[in-house]
Symmetry: C2
Subunit: 592 residues, 2 copies
Amino acid sequence: MIDAVGRVTSRPIFATISSPSVKVSGMDGFALRSSQTNGATEVNPISLDDYMPVNTGFPVPDKYDAVLLKEEALFDGNKLKLLRSIRAGENIRFPGENFSQGELLLESSRRIGFQEVQLLAASGISEVWVWKKPKICFIPVGDELAALGENLKGKLAYESNSFMLKALVEDWGGEVIIHKILPDNFEIVLEALLEEIEKNDLVIIGAGSSKGNRDFTADVISKVGKVIVDGIACRPGKPLILGKVKGKPVIGLPGYPVSAWVGLYFFVNPLIAAFLKTAPRELDRMKMYLSKGIVSVQGIEEIIRVRVGKVSGRWVAVSLPRGAGNISSLGKADGFILVPREVIEIERGSEVEVHLFREKSELEGTLLFIGSHDLLLDLIADEIRKGFPRFRFVSAHVGSLGGLFALKNREAHLSGIHLFDEVTESYNTPFIEKHLTGENVEVLKFVYREQGLMVRPGNPKKIRGLSDLRREDILFVNRQRGSGTRILLDYLLRKEGISPSEIRGYDDEEFTHLGVAMRIASGNADVGMGIYAAAKIMGLDFIPLFEEEYDLVTLKEYIDLPQFKAICQILDSPSFKERALSLGGYKWARKS
Amino acid sequence: MIDAVGRVTSRPIFATISSPSVKVSGMDGFALRSSQTNGATEVNPISLDDYMPVNTGFPVPDKYDAVLLKEEALFDGNKLKLLRSIRAGENIRFPGENFSQGELLLESSRRIGFQEVQLLAASGISEVWVWKKPKICFIPVGDELAALGENLKGKLAYESNSFMLKALVEDWGGEVIIHKILPDNFEIVLEALLEEIEKNDLVIIGAGSSKGNRDFTADVISKVGKVIVDGIACRPGKPLILGKVKGKPVIGLPGYPVSAWVGLYFFVNPLIAAFLKTAPRELDRMKMYLSKGIVSVQGIEEIIRVRVGKVSGRWVAVSLPRGAGNISSLGKADGFILVPREVIEIERGSEVEVHLFREKSELEGTLLFIGSHDLLLDLIADEIRKGFPRFRFVSAHVGSLGGLFALKNREAHLSGIHLFDEVTESYNTPFIEKHLTGENVEVLKFVYREQGLMVRPGNPKKIRGLSDLRREDILFVNRQRGSGTRILLDYLLRKEGISPSEIRGYDDEEFTHLGVAMRIASGNADVGMGIYAAAKIMGLDFIPLFEEEYDLVTLKEYIDLPQFKAICQILDSPSFKERALSLGGYKWARKS
């Protein structure tokens, strides 16, 4: 019967017994005849011979019609002494009080959860009619895909959609069979489809990451069945295919994880619900404040992933990068906004409806950081979840200035900045004074970091300093405008009299230190500016240029939030300091 | 790795590779050198020899730095013809764009869901450190308990808490071992506790339904460990016990399902979360309008189960009967209200916070019925869920007059009434005109039902009509005030010149037809008034007295709701009519 949990009833279930089945006591006490207690008062107590001790839930013999509470009982020798009269039926639970024989316990098409399984068991029902789980076979296809656990051996990527699919489909009530990865071969995929469609209720062909494969899936379906939908007006998710083979549904699922998720949630989910004759599962929705405007395309529905947190009593949604190919943005997303086909823009500050991937209680403990990227933010995120599991640290990286604006607009609790002021030759304070005028600001001194040039190991192009960026054979990679690193670079360039136009790659922007480091490590650029810790992680050489101050900034109104107190505790813990300094390139600026 | 779903990370997980690992194409198209496209326009196209077709996600050779979309490609023989210049980096995805080596993928203490498992798989991580599932042993104790599937054989009830416990605890991340049911024997329970505490992380001793057993659990724990909490100031849930044996937690769980649920949710849930170093799962909460006032007891937290629906754009919570012993009210509940210790009353119409057992999407499709009880309501509930799984029919039974008030106050979509007017000797209309004055009412004619006296099979007390209710040897059971059956009875009594005071049991009230029938069937009353169908289900004899009209009443403002259209479709379907009439005692009043 416990196996019924998660299943859906295929017939109504009526009670076959009544509960309680006989007259029982509702309390621990003494069963008696109410008529014998008439007239009892504190002044004129009545003593009874005819009574019986009963425990809660135990049968009360026919001759008794009420129960006196154990706590109320007084004795006069062996006689029960009553200081008040008892009403007939007092503390008695009559047969059928829970449910009567013939009463509906569960309707058809009801999902069985903990409440339902308890009710069935209590009703003595040990077997229940449920709909068969639909069998769903997923066939991942792609020459470029390696199976997890194997060596990539020249393959481009690990097949990961099957893991997401299995977790989701099982949760929705389906049974999942994962086929081995097939190569991009028409005949082989066709053969597998024909074999699996016989054994399963639904076959999903997972395209690799390319559109080439998608067309190929449509051809396979057409060969032995019918393609009904070839592409949907939704982004991500566009290359989805819906077809029919031997009377059964076949779905061509796009390869990118986010697109695949769209296909699963909006198409596979209702299909499973239809097999189970029930309603599809739906994510919860909540109205939120949009902290960054969205530009969309007319004629296409767009799904914008967001991170969320509650700032100053208002739920804030921060949009994540949109590329379908970004396989980590699904993992980072707390939910999504659905931009309707006819909408081309949602302005910053609008109220939007967010479909939530996570439980509200998890989101409520969010400490929302918007600001400049630093590797220590990852450590803070880890430490806060570990030490204070009710809280989580969510960071969006928009550069130092963007962080100050977010604070001002009450879109974040915390920001991290490293802004060098050329006039005063000092860090951060001048910018805070300028951009957060009138606000009650609290600066948490954090770290000094070494900024410098990152180059490939051994420095093959023999870069010595900024003047080398002028060289014809040097390809530079920059940080985005508004970031503290970019501002520092521009200051240093001016000081050395170097013009941006002299630097090849100056307009090529990355958003994080690791992004820049990765471009260099992979040979797609020769040099970039960033912090020592990023160079160290990527095994790059480092030419120090400057020591900068990276500080955390907040508003006084947040410092009493429990999640804020948690973060302060982490910042001041010796173990966090030790972990942070072990990355290299940092000096501690906190007093502790 | 798929087995990691539902587990909680015990270490932070950093990316060990970058993704993509090399420069890849972001689209299907043609890789080329952007520098060779400078100056291309529609008037002055440029033709290229040096290009390469690439699929999305496929590596782009070092020498190329941009990709032209397939859809944009024109050809001039074998040469690629360009009508515009291409920017360096266009449609290129650089290494590390998804995530860079060394970047934090998942923090410690993170619950792994579909997003996390997909991210790990895509990152090539096939093994992950997670916390061990805590092992939880549940020992149900009680002489009165039978195991599900067995014959009751003199036992009072089926043990059902283990089913609820297993469903919940597994969902929360624990591993559950269900012990066989033990008798109420100190030595046997002690021995089992000592044995299981060695093998498990937590032992839960499930009391039977009686408080006697509870005391017994405390004694067992005290014998070999320590009782830390003996009873909590919460109702239901009061008899909970928290203890410690051999350094491990032991919980004494109350026997009534609702009380057991309170212990599980508020005590076992956080304990499991503590084992997993994560936050406990929490039910979602929503503000609602309270449709019926609540009186509570000072000094005790009270948990009031409710059913909910959205009426006229407002979420309405209707409280359910409170007795902890009511084993079906947990199954019926959509959520609960927590009445704080210091509050003694929450007025009708107050805003209350409801903790939700069900997903909001399921609740949104509710058609809320408040009114008089009829057996056909169960059939409607079944048919609506079966035919329209997005909707559900929820009924609360407060009698006919209460139903009209609920409609007026916008607390329900639909009501069912059978109110006889003595003056006009007609049904329903006079009451609707009086109590819903000024409202735009729609009456759905429904059924004629036979009302009469229900007596035990064979009519052992030879009851012939209402005048027999005066007899000394007859015990009557009544329906509650305001119910149509009660109003009809009072009318008939007056007509025959019978005074209520002449009837033994007149003040003994039941809330449903089946409730009355059950009291008679079990010998706890001799006769009661009710409808034929109830008598038939319980195998009672029936003495017809009157044919009454039971109609459904709504307000015009609801008739365009999709769930309302669904219900009309069901009422008019021949199969529903057939199913309804087969119960007996009904005549169809609808036109169809």
